[in-house]
Amino acid sequence: GRYLQLSPCRCYSIVPPAQDSAEKDMLDRMLRVDHAGEYGANRIYAGQMAVLGRTETGPIIQKMWDQEKAHLKVFNELMADNRVRPTILMPLWNLAGFALEGAMACTVAVEESISEHYNSQIRTLMEEDPDKYKELLQLIKKFRDEEMEHHDTGLEHDAELAPAYSLMKNIIQVGCKAAIYMSERI
């Protein structure tokens, strides 16, 4: 249909063209929320660098931030190529990301949420048609693995020693889930 007609001529294409509007909706939602999430992650690391940049964990945070920037770049391209509407909550992700700066504990909580979220996307795509979505699955798996790395790095740096860690972790994760739910839709 309309979308097939307008897909650009690229040598490779990660997201297969959608057959019908239901599939297009599903892919749109996935890309929209992934894009918003990576954007938020970027802001979190930007905030962390602002606070912890000069400490010993500075370089580690910088490395993780660079990886997130690469993720965001990929999603920006995918969004543009597939004519996906970005979530209108982008400013909120910006704000929330920056507000969460300050501790490795936040990183751990958020990365856990994001990994869980990527896992459920992988499950959905596998249920639908693993062959068709092969490249997209590879991409999401790669990103999920990198997020898990960030999560483990955060744990290594004694994030769990932060006061009220479990309470903060739960609050952040609930917040993440809510943000993901809304960004998929609006």
Binding site: R2, S21, Y39, N76, R85, P86, M90
Partner: protein, 313 residues
């Protein structure tokens, strides 16, 4: 006992029939059967080619008639009549042909069921076939709008391809927007006298969702080909701005009496440059705002120093 079994079997047969009918619960399909019967009676030659815009039209029709996807070619119909002609056209294709034919009669009859009936007659169908459109005039107008949007999309895609092949220079954004909106509005010229009627019909509550969808598709297409690849709030502000430009220019056009709608194009040019300026102005306002805030903070600190509040002895 035997009578009971017979009654059960009849009941099952009826239920099966009703289920088959319920699977086409759309009234449209029921009237379509009559129309198709009439079509075969009228012995209309099959139209081989489906017009290219029908693909986008299908998407819109799929939203209205979710069962009638062209990927499932009316197997229930074939079941009911026990035959399946190879050159059988789907319901959507027939509806598209009828509405396209009806457009010819719009200047005379306005956007109405009469125009559709005339179109049906021209195709050799009974005028009663117009009853297949439950929304009548609304369907006709939505079809016309979808057709125009598709044509514009195709033109923009063509231009885009030429630019990518290096055969033409890419246009600047404001020129591109102006040309795209002008091209789209020019498609209204043959119907401009009765376009206000169409606009008011599109504003009826049951037509608003679909007309909004057409408008947003149009605006998205134009910005995409203008080169917009934004993935933040700019995506929304740009489309909102272009929607405003398009709607106001359309309104100006319907009451423009200058030769070749010069006034309209001049209005369009002004609106587009307004939007371009606004983007620059927004940046300027922001930096001015920041400077002002800093000035105020500086003044407040000075005041605190003068009054001795800041003293720490």
């Amino acid at each position: 006992m035997a009578a009971l079994l017979r009654a059960l079997r009849i009941g099952q047969a009826l239920r099966g029939l009703r289920a088959a009918q319920r699977s086409q619960c759309d009234e449209v399909k029921r009237t379509f059967q009559t129309a198709a019967v009439l079509r075969r009676v009228a012995d209309d030659p099959k139209q081989e080619q489906v017009p290219p815009y029908s693909s986008s039209f299908h998407q819109n029709y799929q939203s209205m008639h979710p069962e009638s996807e062209s990927s499932r070619p009316n197997t229930s119909y074939a079941d009911q009549h026990g035959e399946q002609a190879e050159d059988y056209e789907t319901e959507e294709q027939l509806q598209i042909r009828m509405l396209t034919a009806a457009l010819e009669f719009v200047p005379k009859h306005g956007w109405s069921v009469e125009a559709i009936a005339e179109g049906a007659q021209m195709l050799g169908l009974s005028p009663a076939a117009a009853g297949m459109f439950s929304n009548g005039a609304g369907d006709l107008i939505q079809h016309f709008v979808a057709q125009c949007n598709s044509n514009l999309s195709e033109n923009l895609a063509e231009q885009h391809k030429l630019v990518q092949l290096g055969q033409t220079e890419p246009k600047k954004t404001d020129e591109f927007l102006r040309d795209a909106v002008e091209a789209r509005l020019r498609m209204l010229i043959p119907y401009i006298e009765i376009w206000p009627q169409a606009m008011s019909i599109l504003l009826l509550p049951h037509n608003i969702p679909e007309s909004l969808k057409h408008l947003s598709t149009l605006v998205d297409d134009i910005w995409y080909y203008a080169g917009d690849r934004s993935t933040d709030l700019n995506w929304y502000t740009r489309r909102a701005a272009l929607t405003g430009i398009y709607n106001t220019t359309e309104l100006v056009m319907v009451q423009d009496s200058s030769p070749d709608f010069e006034e309209t194009w001049k209005f369009l040019e002004n609106r587009v440059s307004d939007v371009m300026n606004m983007a620059n102005t927004a940046k300027q306002v922001q930096s001015t705002g920041e400077a002002v805030v800093q000035g105020i903070i500086g003044a407040a600190i000075t005041l605190k120093n003068l009054t001795g509040i800041n003293q720490r002895r």
